[in-house]
Symmetry: C2
Subunit: 197 residues, 2 copies
């Protein structure tokens, strides 16, 4: 018989995305055997993240302080806003380095089939920022998926009348990728998007 | 920039086995978006499991109360002890149903290459139980792996002189398995272990 605190932990861990019963059991027994300070740090980090994190009132990213560190940073160009679906995407662009503008996090993508419309995303906040006149360019950096493309097209139509230049991230064969293994759609886009050199 | 409570949570989650940076980020953002009571329940379950779980002084399973529920259960045959490597294995045997004896959890398998000897396992506790004379049969239910077999052979040699009947779980083609896909060793064992019918 499983002692109930273990069963409860397995049950809670199994609620995490991509974690089934067996993985949850493996994680639970790891937590049981880990150093006590590691288990305590994990529990504290979970509690902490829920208590301290809120949305930035400017860019809608998750932040500890409002406005967030990027929105507060005067060295970053306020005129360029990179529009992403999720905080994870913002992290990915930051990791890539080189981008010196600001961000806007939509918290999702338009998906009529799943009932996700513009009102479910942080679109009104983006329009408000752009209507101020402070934004010259919105880089639509949603994924090149069906929902990502649809969201980018929708936002471009919405922002252009406000005098904002709207651009879309480039699609093509990834750096280090093999032409041989690129899918047809990617390869077709890469050829369409070819540049002089 | 990632707000530091999120970064800390990702860092803590990435310490779990089989969880890399990207999975940790996905889990962290799930926890951020989950119902507040789910996040709180997960944090509490982690803290709880470390505070409330100890080893059963009889069978060495993880338990909330000592002796554990199975060791306390007078309806289970005290004369039969199923010896398993890990608490997870005990859970698997219990899930299978039908077994009405007791257990002994070794907390590992002999593995000389990794420096794991009998003193690193709960072998002394098993010998003590068997020396009492209350145990008639020890079912050696370690996995049919190299370490599992070696541990079973070692324990059989140790327990037989104490007058304990030692048996080994059957190996063969799994129920529902296809002969065609069974590996050579399993198939050879299945043929060696054939029974009258």
């Amino acid at each position: 018989m499983v002692a109930s605190p273990i069963a409860r932990l397995i049950q809670q861990l199994a609620k995490l995305p991509g974690v089934g019963e067996k993985t949850a059991a493996r994680l639970a027994f790891h937590i049981l055997r880990a150093a006590p300070e590691d288990a305590a740090a994990l529990a504290a980090a979970i509690t902490d993240v829920r208590q301290k994190i809120r949305f930035c009132s400017t860019c809608c990213d998750l932040t500890e302080s409002d406005p967030c560190a990027i929105c507060r940073d005067a060295r970053r160009e306020a005129g360029t806003v990179c529009v992403v679906a999720q905080p994870q995407d913002l992290m990915a662009v930051e990791r890539a380095g080189g981008y010196r503008g600001k961000y806007h996090v939509l918290h999702g993508l338009l998906s009529p089939l799943d009932g996700v419309g513009p009102d479910d995303l942080r679109v009104a906040e983006l329009v408000r920022r752009c209507a101020d006149g402070a934004v010259q360019e919105a880089i639509l950096a949603t994924s090149p998926s069906i929902e990502g493309e649809a969201t980018a097209v929708y936002l471009a139509k919405l922002l252009r009348p406000l005098g904002v230049r709207t651009t879309r991230i480039a699609t093509g064969v990834p750096i280090g990728g093999e032409l041989e293994y690129a899918d047809q759609a990617t390869l077709a886009r890469a050829i369409d998007g070819r540049r002089e050199m």
